[in-house]
């Protein structure tokens, strides 16, 4: 018998006490999915304030700008981060690309594809995001246009991420609902809650291990 058949047979044997007619849906799950928190609708002032508070609590920088203020904010951010070499994924707003290019940094695109060694030599990446989840201060990327493949937001040490206020939802359940179509179409998804961190030595938190050590969020009103 193949390992597959044997494991399946053992599992079926183990479940003899489950009545034959019982379907999976017959096991009640006392939960209603996708509910927002009482803080309100996506992008509402209360939700956005909660998001900012929680992201900052992880030690990340959040800068709030009015719509149209992204270019200036990016230039200021690159200066604040002391960025030298910046990778720009496909699909970013051309106005942002020229703003970065005019900020006195060396810019790179991922076309032709950058090697891991090349990416390792780049210090900063600029991306958009798919959704922000306020309650946990989480930003999710679905790696579509403007967000680059996964390695782009992993090897550079500084991640400059532009999030629109309308993308910010109150909590994880709404966030999953926003991401579900991308996941169902098999896009990879990465959740970021602050920068990388460890508490493995005496539970004392150290910011920055292998992923980007700095997360800098530009939050645009829209």
């Amino acid at each position: 018998m193949s390992a597959r058949d044997e494991v399946m047979a053992r599992v079926r044997e183990a479940l003899q006490d489950v009545p034959d007619g019982e379907r999976a849906e017959d096991v009640t799950v006392a939960w209603s999915y996708g509910r927002p928190l009482a803080t309100g609708a996506p992008g509402s002032a209360e939700v956005v304030d909660d998001f900012v508070e929680k992201v900052e609590d992880y030690g990340a920088v959040v800068v709030r700008v009015p719509s149209g203020g992204v270019e200036t904010a990016l230039r200021e951010a690159l200066a604040a981060l002391d960025a030298r070499k910046v990778v720009l994924p496909d699909g970013l707003d051309p106005a942002w690309v020229s703003a970065v290019a005019g900020a006195g940094v060396e810019t790179f695109t991922d076309d032709p594809v950058l090697s891991h060694q090349e990416l390792n030599g780049i210090d900063t990446v600029v991306t958009t995001a798919a959704v922000g989840m306020a309650d946990s201060g989480t930003i999710a990327l679905d790696h579509s246009a403007g967000q680059g493949r996964r390695a782009l937001t992993l090897l550079p040490d500084k991640h400059l991420c532009v999030v629109r206020t309308s993308q910010v939802v109150s909590d994880v359940p709404e966030g999953i609902a926003v991401l579900a179509p991308a996941i169902r179409s098999r896009q990879p998804v990465t959740w970021l809650s602050g920068g990388s961190a460890t508490s493995d030595i005496e539970l004392s938190r150290v910011e920055g291990v292998h992923g980007p050590r700095t997360l800098y969020v530009v939050l645009v009103e829209d």
Binding site: A3, E6, V7, R23, H210
Partner: protein, 514 residues
């Protein structure tokens, strides 16, 4: 340790000579562990810190109890229909370009991973922290096959470089303090790659920087990674890994080949079920609102991440756990470690005493079920608890730990006594016979009254009576009464009653003679 001259030198740091298999049962192991005062200090500090953080983060969520119930329900749904979900997950993963393997046991699983590594022609793999691969001792199997497995989680790195064993599910090096870590890094890093910088202090930031530098060269050159998995969504075939450091993302993104070894119980029916678990897990585990990084991937993505994906679905005793309708609740476990952090026994004994990578309350109920009740270690584990029930209260998937512990204790006793009844059982059997009829009891009481007459109200101190001598060393005991309750009753209530045919009647007469 002597090395055979023909033996090939090891590629990775050797584990301790006494590994899990050589460990004594809990009651014996704990005697050594309790003497390690530094470890007890480290553990007390760590467990108290984490349990405080967990309590704070759980209190921030208004519907925490509702979430726990939902998680329990979802896991029970998966468990009761695991056969259907396994087939659904297999089909979804295959459709997304993942090669799915099945492993009956540790030998199957390690062979599958070794074969993939050999087929890829690699002599090293980078690893994400994974309980499943600890359980099957994958690293040593790879080492024997000439393939170096490098742990990349900081705590696992400390354990590996320290020739040590993990002692906690979430923070495997919880028993080590910063000075010990500094010494391990300074001594060992250079032997296996980028050395620790000269003059490194025991500041956790400096230690973390040394690990970053040591591991980065391994991430950049690795052709193959091995991971576990926190969840597999059956509907879509999506794998989910939660982590903190980014070592997981490195392993999941940079190498060409990724093999994930995942227990068959790790399935969730739908994507939407993730909303329950991704709220519960980080708050229960590290006491954070969310862990720094969560990766979700659904098969191969052209031009992004590993192009050759494998998943090994691991049984290794899980179907045995599933076959016990009481014990199967242990399969709900999402490896958060909240039960360890709250446990008064774990806090003092530490993780190694449990003789498995799964320590604490979850280890006490999971190991004996996964491995069976054959070894002295597994027979002892259900008793490694005070049954205080703190674990029941913090478990995010509501595992009824104490119920399962009592259930397993019962099974241990049944197994122990099925062939050789114990002295205790013989005693109980005799007691049963004595108590079954008044006449029998009276006969025995006659004997005890006889003893009472011999000792004449003298307190009994130490004396060489078999069995009782040790007990009497520390206690004085009153001599048995010279009159039984029945005799007293007869005397008080039926003073005129003639001495009957019973022993009790004769006893009354004796009493009156006094």
């Amino acid at each position: 340790m002597t090395t055979q001259p023909e033996a090939r030198p090891r590629l990775t740091p050797a584990p301790p000579e006494v590994s899990w298999l050589g460990m004594p049962p809990f009651p014996e192991a704990v005697k050594t562990e309790l003497r390690r005062s530094q470890q007890r200090k480290n553990l007390a500090h760590a467990t108290h810190t984490i349990r405080g953080k967990r309590a704070l983060r759980a209190s921030e969520v208004d519907n925490w109890e509702e979430l726990r119930t939902a998680a329990e329900n979802i896991k029970d749904r998966v468990g009761r229909h695991l056969d259907e979900y396994l087939l659904q997950a297999e089909a979804a993963m295959q459709a997304a370009g993942v090669t799915v393997h099945w492993a009956r046991d540790a030998a199957d699983a390690t062979r599958i991973v070794t074969d993939i590594a050999r087929a890829k022609g690699v002599d090293e793999v980078v690893k994400i922290k994974s309980m499943a691969t600890q359980e099957i001792d994958l690293n040593e199997a790879l080492e024997e096959a000439g393939i170096a497995a490098w742990e990349t989680d900081l705590a696992e790195l400390i354990v590996q470089l320290g020739h040590d064993l993990p002692s906690h599910i979430l923070v495997p090096a919880i028993h080590r303090n910063r000075t010990e870590v500094r010494d391990i890094f300074a001594e060992e890093m250079g032997r296996y790659g980028t050395p620790a910088p000269e003059g490194m202090t025991d500041d956790p930031t400096e230690l973390t920087d040394a690990a970053r530098a040591h591991l980065r060269e391994k991430f950049l050159r690795a052709k193959m990674a091995v991971s576990g998995g926190n969840f597999i969504v059956a509907e879509t075939g999506t794998l989910v890994i939660v982590e903190s450091e980014g070592n997981g993302r490195m392993c999941l993104t940079l190498p060409e080949t990724l093999v994930s070894v995942v227990g068959i119980e790790k399935l969730l029916p739908t994507l939407e079920d993730l909303e329950v678990f991704l709220k519960l897990l980080p708050r229960s585990s590290t006491g954070e609102r969310m862990n720094p990084y969560t990766s979700l991937w659904t098969g191969v993505r052209e031009g992004d991440g590993p192009q050759d994906l494998h998943v090994v679905l691991l049984d290794n005793g899980r179907s045995r756990v599933l076959s016990d309708p009481v014990g199967r609740a242990a399969l709900r476990c999402i490896r958060c470690s909240a039960c360890l952090n709250i446990c008064p026994v774990y806090e003092r004994a530490g993780g190694h005493a449990y003789g498995s990578p799964y320590p604490g309350p979850i280890g006490a109920i999971l190991n004996p079920q996964l491995r069976g009740l054959d070894s002295p270690v597994d027979k002892a584990l259900p008793f490694a608890s005070s049954l205080c029930g703190a674990c029941n209260e913090v478990c995010p998937v509501k595992i009824p730990f104490t119920d399962i512990l009592v259930h397993l204790r019962h099974k241990v006793v049944e197994k122990k006594t099925e062939k050789h009844p114990t002295g205790e059982q013989a005693l109980m059997k005799t007691t049963g016979r004595v108590m079954s009829a008044g006449k029998n009891l009276e006969k025995v009481q006659l004997a005890s009254r006889g003893a009472g007459l011999v000792f004449k109200n003298k307190w009994l101190g130490p004396m060489p009576i078999p069995l009782a001598s040790r007990w009497l060393q520390a206690r004085d005991v009153e001599a048995p009464p010279t009159q039984t309750f029945r005799e007293w009753w007869d005397k008080e209530h039926r003073p005129s009653a003639a001495p009957g045919e019973t022993a009790g009647g004769q006893g009354s007469a004796t009493e009156e003679e006094r």
